[in-house]
Each structure stands twice: as C-alpha cells, then as structure tokens.
C-alpha cells in the first residue's frame, strides 16, 4: 500500500509546493506588462519562426505594442491576422503597409576585377577581403548570400548575375537586407520608395543623377528592352506622373550626361520615355496605381501645373487627402496654356490629368488664390498643409517706348488667350488679330512657341529678335531647329530700343540696336554690348515680347503674409532641400520657387515638397534629405572616356513634313516604332557608378 501511496503523496506534495511557490512568485515578482502584448501574441501565428526578425512571437508582440513593428509584422500569417492585431492595437489595419525587398544594383559584376579570387563563394567572405574583388565599392557581388538567407525562395540570381526579387513571394522580412554586406538590398514600403531621393552614396547612373525628377532611367530602359512596357511605365511613374507630357516636351538634360554620349550620340532617353508612355495610352486602359492607406490628413495644392500635379499625386499616393485649387478652367498650367497644341495635344494632357485625378484627388477649378480664398482660409477649412505651385505667369516688360501700342502683346498672355480660345474655354469669341509681319522678342521656349504658333495662324513673315546669338538661346535645341525649318527669320544680337506706331496708335515698326559679344557675365554667357549708331528698323504689324516671366504674387496683398519672404524676382523663398517656406505649413516648388524653368524640374520639386509635407503632416521633423545629391553629381561616376564602345547611331525622331505641319496644330513630333525602341534601348550601357556594359 505504502509503496504506492508514499510516492504519489510525495510527488503530489512536491507538485503542489512548486505550484504554490510559482503562484506566489508570480504575484510577488509581478511586473506590469501591457495586457495587449499577450493578446497580440495569441493572435500571431505562434510558429516562433523568427521570420519577422524578432526572437519569437512574444518579442514580435512586444515590438508591436511598443510601436516598433507594424501589425503586419507576422510574415507567415495572412491579412486576417494583421487585421486582428490592428484591432487590438486600435489601429487601422491599413496603416500597415506591406514591405518589399528591392535591389538597388543591377550590374556590379561588370566592374573590373581588383584581384583573382578562389576563396569561398559567399558575399560575406569576399567582402571581408578588401571590400570585394570588384573595383566598384558600391555594387552587388553576385554570390547570393541574400538567396541563401531567404526563407521564402523569393530571391534568385538572374542570368546577368545579380539578385532579382520575386515580389509575389517576398514577405518583407528583411533577412536579405541583413545578409547583404554591401547593403544593395533594402526592404522598404511603397511609401519609402516614393519618398526616396538621390543620395551621395546611391547606385546611380549619371543620367539618373542629372534628371531633376530623379527617374530610374537605366531601369525603365532595361524594361523597354525586355518588352516589359507596363513595368517601364511603373518605373517612370514612381518619380514622374506626367510621363506623356514629359515624353513630348522635356529637353532631356539627362541625355547630356549619357556615357554613350561621351564617345558618340547619346541614347535617346526621352524618346524611350515617350514610347513607354504612349504605349499605356494606346492600349486604352490605365495601369493600376496603388496608394498607401488613408492617413486622415488634408493637403491643399494651389496651382494645378506640373509642380502641383506632381505634389498632389505623391501626397495622394502617400495616403493623404488632397484637393487641387486652380485659377484656370482646366488642369495643366503652362503645359496646357503655354505649350501649344502641336507640341502637346490637349487630348493627351487630358488623359494624363484624368489618370492623376483618378487616384482620388479632387480638383476645384476657376478658384484663384487671393480672390476666392487665402492661405489663411484654407488653413481654417481644415487643411493641414498648403502647397503653392502657382508658376510664373507674369510677363516681364521690355521697358521701351511704345510697348503698349495696339498690336503689341506679351508672350504668356498671347499663348494663354489663344489656348483658351482653341480649347473653347474662353468667354471672348473674337480671336486675336494676327498680323502679316510679326516680330517676337526673346530667345526662350515662350518666344519659340509664339513664333511657331504665329506661323500656323497664317502670319506671312515671322521674326525672332534676340539679344545674343543662337548658341545662347535658352529654348530647347529641337525647338530652335524646328522653328528654322518652319521658315522663321532670326535677328540675333539685336536689342530693341523703340516700338514705333502709326497715327492710329497701331504698331508699325521695331527699332533695335545691333550688339556684339563682350566679356562673359555672371551666368557665363558672353554679355552683349551695343554698337553705337547701329539702329535698324524692321517693319512689322504685330509684336510679342517674350523676354521672360516671374510669378504673379498679387495674392499676397489680399491677406497679411508678412511672415513669408519673396525674392527680388517675386519667387517664394524656401529651404532648397525641404521647400518649406517661412510659414511652416506652406510649401512650394516649380516655377513659383525657381522662376521660369522646366517641366521636369517642377515635377521633381513637387515630389520633394510632397516628402516634406508628408513629414510635416505626420508630425515628424521636416529635415532635409540625408546625403542629398540634389543638383550635384557623384564625382567618380563622371567619366571623360568610355573605351570599348561599338559605334552605333541614334534613332531619328519621326516628325511631320514642314509643309504639312505648318498648316495646322496637329502634333508635329511622332512616337518611335517598337523596333526602333528595341534598337535604341539596346544602346543603353546600363551604367551604374563605375561600371557599364561594354558592347
């Protein structure tokens, strides 16, 4: 009997004692722990797999409650778990944006070897030896530590030798990021991607460093080469929502930095952009654009030009509620009312603007800041931040006698009035009377657009009168050439001194002084100096002055905006990195900030401002981009020679014949064919910092 009873009793007593001690201990040594931790833990998968990067589900739960991880932390559970965790945390499950791994190098293997290597074939091993065997310090080494680290088979080394992430399999756990000794792989959310800017230590091709909108050019060209046109569109759209417009009017500063251009003709980057953009439009269906979950913050974007559209687009994609206010009847700003139909058909622009609005942006048209509302009233209406992208719409005056005679116009005024009429948005029906002999003063895009418009409107003789020479003209080179083909006569080195009128006050002549080029001025261009007694008169019956424009800041008189500073040229003062004005909730970009500039610059600025506004509205400090590469280049990436290239020729841009195009406003420049796009995309060297594909 005892033989059974005693041991049972002893074990029972022991168990009881231990239980009691533990029970008491749990009271005595009680440490307050957020009860949500236990709740969250019980909703997680419970596999303790560590895939999330925390040591087990308990640690992950603590991190969620501590705000260090998102409800989507668990990589094995599905969206229901995320929703359950989010509801415990009282968060919108939406705020959990999913992460994806992205590879930022696509070809470190092409760089030269520093030494011959026969050791272990892991990235960690070779990185331990002088930072790798390639001369490129930044790039992928291709030994696949990331592939081995991935628990989900979501990475493979492609045939070119660098890692490719299979997005559908990637859960964003970050194992590859930790495994990569070169930090080539980054696990980021879509928002992180949209908010990324070029950095001094980035893996950036020279073209990509130069592009003001910082588009990943080599990537979209590679996608065109692989016939992944939708991918190319997505790549461009990650930086530039106005790809159709830019593909048509951008003067492509990127091409000046193309490495192929050092030895021969640069790759026709912008034609490829237009090709990809037109591809999407021609399919007739829009590619889906995803937006981050709503943040509940409201932003007002004043001005629906490229800067405003870009800012609104990125703010919307970051999850904010955006409303655009614009003074004109339709969106687009200067690219609608300045750039004429034959360069950018308004049908195309309409399609583009609709696509942007379709992400969920509201646009209120015919609403002028300073008249229909003020920045203060917007703030009172509940907008958390305000973007001012009002462009540069106020023409500079020549300040010579007779400038206000009948038959004299200013450039923006003329183009805008004509565009309004052409788009049948104007109240006045009487068209602007077009003269027989017209002179346009100025050498910028506005001047060229005026003369090319005049030719199409039937003017017999059209002159450009410009102070300096053709080389100094700020207009896009293709535009100048097109104007020459269309029969425009150029009067270079001519400074207007007087506009002469007849008895009825109608313009009849323009007097100018001939100039010669002297010493270079601050901008590096040689300053024109007048030649005494060289007055010349041209007979005209219409005159347009298009010598530049600045922002129209009349709105500032309608409210007391003393806290905001403006420059001498009426542009808004702001921090160049964050584009935040002196009033913390007001941001700016585009022509209103830079003075008359380019569409891409306005687009890049719009995104930069969107980043700062996002930081501001989500209560973070509005800091500059770290290691920002804005308007700079990575010195080692700029070559003066590119040996080993086979000579090739750039595809020609197809355009309408001169006789045909000057009869009407149909689009003059045409899109390249698919075959040409393939040839041209193969000319890209897929450069990175120090490497490029030799052919």
């Amino acid at each position: 009997m005892d033989a059974v009873l005693v041991p049972v009793l002893i074990m029972g007593v022991m168990g009881f004692t231990i239980g009691a001690v533990l029970a008491i201990a749990s009271k005595v040594f009680y440490v307050y722990e957020d009860p949500r931790i236990a709740e969250v833990e019980s909703s997680l998968a419970g596999a303790n797999c560590g895939g999330c990067g925390f040591t087990g589900c308990g640690a992950a739960a603590a991190a969620v409650v501590g705000g260090k991880a998102l409800p989507s932390v668990c990589v094995v559970a599905g969206p229901e778990t995320t929703a359950a965790v989010a509801s415990i945390m009282g968060m919108d499950p939406g705020t959990a944006e999913s992460k994806l791994s992205c590879n930022s190098c696509d070809g470190g293997l092409r760089a030269e070897n520093k030494y011959h290597y026969m050791g272990a074939t892991t990235c960690a091993a070779i990185a331990a030896m002088y930072g790798g065997k390639k001369t490129c310090e930044f790039g992928c080494m291709g030994y696949g530590d990331c592939v081995r680290s991935c628990l989900f088979d979501a990475i493979f080394i492609n045939e070119k030798g660098f890692p490719t992430v299979i997005e559908s399999k990637c859960v964003g756990c970050g194992a590859c990021e930790r495994a990569c000794p070169k930090s080539v792989l980054h696990v980021v959310t879509m928002s992180d991607r949209l908010l990324a800017f070029n950095q001094t230590d980035g893996r950036l091709a020279p073209c990509r460093q130069e592009c003001p909108a910082e588009i990943d050019i080599p990537r979209y060209i590679a996608q065109v080469r692989d016939k992944d046109y939708a991918g190319a569109v997505a790549t461009i759209r990650e930086r530039n929502p106005l790809l159709l417009s830019c593909g048509r009017v951008c003067p492509h500063p990127c091409e000046d930095y193309c490495r192929r251009g050092i030895e021969e003709e640069a790759v026709s980057i912008n034609q490829l952009k237009r090709f990809a953009a037109d591809y999407e439009m021609n399919t007739g269906s829009r590619l889906p654009i995803s937006c981050a979950p709503d943040t509940g913050k409201k932003a007002a974007v004043v001005g629906g030009g490229p800067a405003g559209l870009s800012c609104a687009f990125f703010l919307r994609r970051l999850g904010h509620d955006v409303t655009i206010f614009d003074a004109m009847p339709k969106l687009g700003g200067m690219i609608r009312y300045g750039i004429p139909e034959y360069r950018l058909p308004k049908e195309v622009l309409d399609w583009e603007c609709q696509g942007i609005l379709k992400t969920g942006i509201e646009a209120k048209m015919n609403m002028r800041l300073g008249e229909d509302y003020t920045t203060k009233s917007l703030k009172e209406d509940g907008f958390d931040s305000i973007f001012l992208g009002i462009g540069a719409w106020s023409d500079y005056m020549l300040n010579v006698e007779g400038e206000d005679l009948d038959g004299c116009y200013t450039g923006i005024d003329f183009l805008t009035r004509f565009a309004l009429q052409q788009q049948k948005d104007s109240l006045e029906d009487t068209p602007i009377p077009i003269g027989q002999k017209c002179a346009v003063i100025g050498g910028g895009n506005t001047a060229i657009d005026c003369v090319r418009t005049l030719v199409r409107l039937g003017a017999k003789e059209v002159y450009i009168v410009y102070r300096r020479t053709r080389n100094e003209m700020p207009a896009n080179m293709v535009e100048i050439e097109a104007a020459e083909h269309e029969g425009i006569q150029f009067h270079f080195l001519a400074a207007p001194t007087k506009v002469m009128g007849d008895a009825n006050g109608k313009v009849m002549g323009l007097e100018y002084l001939k100039m010669e080029l002297g010493e270079p001025d601050a901008s590096g261009r040689r300053r024109p100096v007048p030649i005494e007694g060289s007055e010349t008169v041209i007979e005209i019956d219409m005159l347009i002055t298009a010598i530049g424009q600045g922002p129209d800041v009349s709105f500032k008189d309608k409210e007391s905006l003393d806290d905001m500073r403006f420059t001498r040229w009426n542009s808004i003062e702001a921090d160049p990195e964050t584009l935040q004005s002196d009033i913390p909730y007001i941001f700016t970009a585009g022509d209103a900030y830079t003075g008359a500039s380019l569409v891409v610059a306005a687009i890049g600025g719009g995104r930069r401002a969107a980043r700062a506004m996002h930081l501001y509205m989500t209560d973070q400090e509005v800091t500059p981009v770290e290691k920002s590469l804005r308007e700079k280049h990575i010195p080692v990436s700029i070559f003066d020679k590119v040996p080993g290239l086979n000579s090739t020729t750039r595809v020609e841009m197809p355009e309408l014949e001169v006789e045909e195009r000057i009869q009407s406003f149909v689009e003059a420049d045409l899109v390249i064919t698919e075959e040409d796009a393939e040839v041209e995309s193969n000319r890209c060297l897929s450069c990175c910092i120090t490497c490029y594909d030799k052919d």
């Binding site: 074990m11 022991m14 201990a25 087990g56 050791g119 272990a120 960690a124 091993a125």
Partner: protein
Amino acid sequence: MGDYIVLIISCVFVNNILLAQFLGNCPFLGTSKKMETALGMSMAVIFVMVLAGGITWSVYHMLLVKYNLQYLTTIAFIVIIASLVQFVEMFLKKSMPALYAGLGIFLPLITTNCAVFGACLINIGEEYTFMQSLVTSFGFAAGFGLALILFAGVREKIILARVPKALQDTSIGLITAGIMSLSFFAFKGMV
C-alpha cells in the same frame, strides 16, 4: 580547496559535458552561429546549472533518499528544473531587469537543455557532497560555455571557407564539433 580545483578542471576539460559527455547538443548547434548569442547562452547556463545543482541535490538527499524513492529521481528532477527556470525568469524580470534582458530568450531555452539535467544526475551518481555538487555544476556549466564560445568562434570563420555544398551549415558544424571533441580527449588521464 585543492580538491575543488581538481574537480573544476576535470569538469571543464576532462569530462567536458559537451565534448566528452555529448550532452546539450541542441543549444550547442543552435546558438553557436554568432559569438554574441553563444555568450548569452553560456551565462544563462552557468546561472541555472549552479542553482539546479544545489536544489536537486537537496531534494534528492532530503526527500527521495529519506523515503527510499530514488526511482523517482528522473521525473522529480525534470519537474524541478522546469519550474526552477520559470521561477528564475520571473525573479530576474522583477529584480534584475538588466540581467533578464541580457539573457533574453536563452533562459526559457534551458528548460530543454539536457546538459543541466545531466549534470544534476552526475552529481547524484558520483555521490558528491552539497558543496562538491555546487562546484561540479559550476565546472560543467563553465565547460559548456567554453566549448560553446570556442565553437562559435570557429563557426564564424567557417562561413569564410569553401565548404562543399553537401556539407554546408549543420553538417560541417557537426564535423567540427567532432574534431573539437577529439582534441578534448587529449585531456583524458590528466586528473
């Protein structure tokens, strides 16, 4: 005093619990990939093993022997070690949060560490006194730590070496452990 030193040397080197007695292999392979984790684990094991050595000795001699219930040793020890770890965890969390955070997940892992259990059984089997069991427990734990840390050092270097595909990771780990174990056999006969 001299006895104790001999005891420690024998536990650490000659009868190393890992490399001579082959106990505690799961944590040995599991936590030896990084020096950092190896250190954490070693500390946790030293802490728990000494405590467990003392308590199991007392329970054995004061309870089981008294009622002639030695056959219950195994089950009693399992219960004791498991609850001890629980207790220690709670205690540390409250009174030594820094140490608790340092040992982190290694504490609960020890519940399943057979080296702890093995050391306690050896203490009983060798009929050590209370003091002796404390010292041997410490010795075994230190030996475990030593082996683990050495092994982690080797493994951190292995990733830099060319290992045939079939032998990568755990396989080469076991081979390495075998060679280490052979070298520890050199201490045989020293004490």
